[in-house]
């Protein structure tokens, strides 16, 4: 997981923007836009897990779709395995998609109820013309089912015969079918019961170790993201406000939003909860149609200053003395750390 830093990243996202236009009336006159993703940059190193956290509407899922080019981009650059894929035509994207696959949140909605498990898992092979030999096709499906902890004899069953956790395993097997290098997991365990979440997280970590996979892991549950990620980006209203290594982020959260997020998570320990100060931030995430000027977080920020209302802070590393004692690569977008 801790590969040399000078190695080329598997995925590089630079200043990614996805804006949706808001229209009004019969003629659909454009009256504004929602900046769902507004200048997001990050890198994924080979073999690592990069976690993207944030509350609903922060743009984390839109970022995932945009990386897969399943969502038209307004601007920015996406480099995958060394190639610029930002402007590839759909037919040019096909071979690229073999290398990047997705695991979805809803294990009920993401599997076709009328297809046998064998066909669900094998469909990517058919779509990409890799199922030339019936016997090899079957063998590959058995192998994939075995990899995710399903019994190959279940392959002629239908999705409704499986529990939520098993269905998520089916979704993972389908994502693995094409031997991708990158798997984007969008809230892969949030629909599952607590005791099943742990099983699926273990499976994802085992597969990563065995197959050298790289994960972009999107979730709102901080303890889940912390457990599986090597590095984490925190998003708020379309922007990344902080990126840091896992341990660094949880030990020294810098952005007031990250701090508030960590303080909001109740810990499963009553003795600790009784003593912990509960500094709750006020208000809710504002509408992305009318984001506040300057730093998007300023109306809820306990440490707001004049400059925050006017200037958007940039995501920068090693700002001023507060951060200088750490030789890490944390970056934060907050005026508190302006030099």
């Amino acid at each position: 997981m801790n590969l040399a830093m000078n190695e080329k990243p598997l995925l590089k996202v630079n200043d990614l923007k996805v804006h949706f236009s808001l229209t009004e009336g019969f003629l659909e006159k454009e009256v504004g836009s929602v900046k769902a993703v507004d200048g997001v940059s990050f890198e994924l190193r080979r073999g690592e897990t990069f976690g993207l956290v944030g509350e609903s509407g922060c743009g984390k899922s839109t970022t995932a779709l945009a990386v897969l080019r399943m969502q038209p981009l307004t601007g920015g650059l996406i480099e995958f395995e060394g190639n610029d894929i930002t402007r590839l035509e759909p037919h040019q994207m096909r071979p690229v998609r073999r290398r990047m696959q997705m695991v979805y949140q809803d294990p009920f909605g993401s599997l076709n109820p009328r297809m046998q498990i064998r066909d669900i898992i094998g469909e990517p092979l058919l779509v990409h013309g890799l199922a030339t030999n019936r016997r090899l096709f079957r063998e590959r499906i058995d192998e994939l089912m075995d990899m995710v902890g399903l019994l190959p004899d279940m392959s002629d069953r239908y999705p409704h015969e499986f529990s939520g956790g098993q269905r998520q395993r089916i979704g993972i097997a389908r994502a693995l079918a094409l031997e991708p290098s990158l798997i984007i997991c969008d809230e892969p365990v949030s629909a599952l019961d607590v005791s099943i979440q742990a099983q699926v997280l273990n499976l994802l970590m085992d597969l990563q170790r065995e197959l050298g996979l790289t994960y972009l892991f999107i979730a709102h549950d901080l303890s889940v993201v912390r457990h599986i990620s090597d590095r984490i980006g925190v998003m708020y209203l379309g922007r990344i406000v902080e990126i840091a290594g896992r341990d660094e982020l949880f030990a020294h959260p810098r952005h007031p939003y990250t701090q508030a997020l960590l303080a909001s998570v109740p810990r499963p320990d009553p003795a600790l909860e009784a003593t912990r100060s509960q500094q709750l931030i006020v208000g809710e995430v504002p509408s992305p149609k009318t984001p506040p000027p300057g730093c998007h977080f300023h109306p809820r920020c306990p440490k707001v200053m004049g400059v925050c209302r006017e200037e958007s802070p940039i995501l920068e590393s090693n700002r001023g003395a507060l951060l200088s004692n750490h030789q890490d690569e944390s970056r934060v977008a907050c005026h508190l750390y302006d030099a």
């Binding site: 509350e55 609903s56 529990s163 956790g165 098993q166 019961d193 607590v194 005791s195 099943i196 979440q197 742990a198 099983q199 997280l201 273990n202 970590m205 085992d206 709102h220 901080l222 303890s223 889940v224 912390r226 457990h227 599986i228 090597d230 896992r246 341990d247 949880f250 508030a260 997020l261 960590l262 303080a263 909001s264 998570v265 109740p266 810990r267 499963p268 320990d269 009553p270 003795a271 600790l272 909860e273 509960q278 709750l280 931030i281 006020v282 809710e284 995430v285």
Partner: protein, 326 residues
Amino acid sequence: MNADALLDIEDLSVSFRTDRGKVRAVSDLSLSVKQGETLAIVGESGSGKSVTALSILRLLGDNGMIDDGRVVFEGQDLLALSADEIRQIRGDRIAMIFQEPMSSLNPVLTIGKQVAEPICLHRDKDWSEAMEMAGSLLAKVAIPDATERLGDYPHQFSGGMRQRVMIAMALACQPRLIIADEPTTALDVTVQAQILALLKELTEQSQAALILITHDLGVVARYADRVAVMYGGRIVETADAKELYANPAHPYTVGLMASIPGIEGDAGTRLITIDGQPPDLAYLPPGCAFAPRCQHAHEACGSGIPTLESVLQNPSHRRACFGYPS
């Protein structure tokens, strides 16, 4: 029977008619809640925690039936009341807050009307008085410009604001007992913290009891005084919150606590899991429902159903387990 209990459930059994036959969702459940206390009922989907809550107010729906038991509230068995009598209690002495603030509010009625309705119904006020009270209730749950927003519709409120409205409705008649079924599951974590803190503060002020139904062990740790852990339709362990987290005694509770990734401590290591999956209530195993997943299961676990017994001579800490083999 518990003398100082506000609510005392005794041997409650509930089942549903389904196309797979009659399915028992809650079996022989007993619990009690004291005035001013917060009891958390914890469990995974299908454990029977929501059915228990719905049974208290007899809101089970057409295919649900209470097979057995008593639900004694302020000395009165709610299960013996007529439909009219239980309606007098709903929203008045006992209020309920549901998980989905969007589907629990009527989309074509103004917020003001919905908050004022219970006051009109139970307190015999006229509309203008009730509306005025609704305005102050909304202010109490920290909705900005409360009186101006009485005429707004639910879609004009955010998820967190809608849940505040639900709390205002629940508090309208100063209930003695509030049942909150996963009140913050649909909300973001920063808003969840605000809503739960508000609920706790307001119930403390009015000395009402709170039954908090949740699957989130962190929420339980922060807000509950006492906890009941449910599995397969039964309570498998109950204790004071601090005691439960310090000394979990049922293998299911132990496994559940071990399987949640923490926000401190080791990360990236394999999590301890509970193998298998929660039972299908239509095909419960003959003995302890947890036995097929339990690493300590022995012969007795496969045949008999364990009853709740106190642990370590602590009368308030009880578990339903035949114990680990020696």
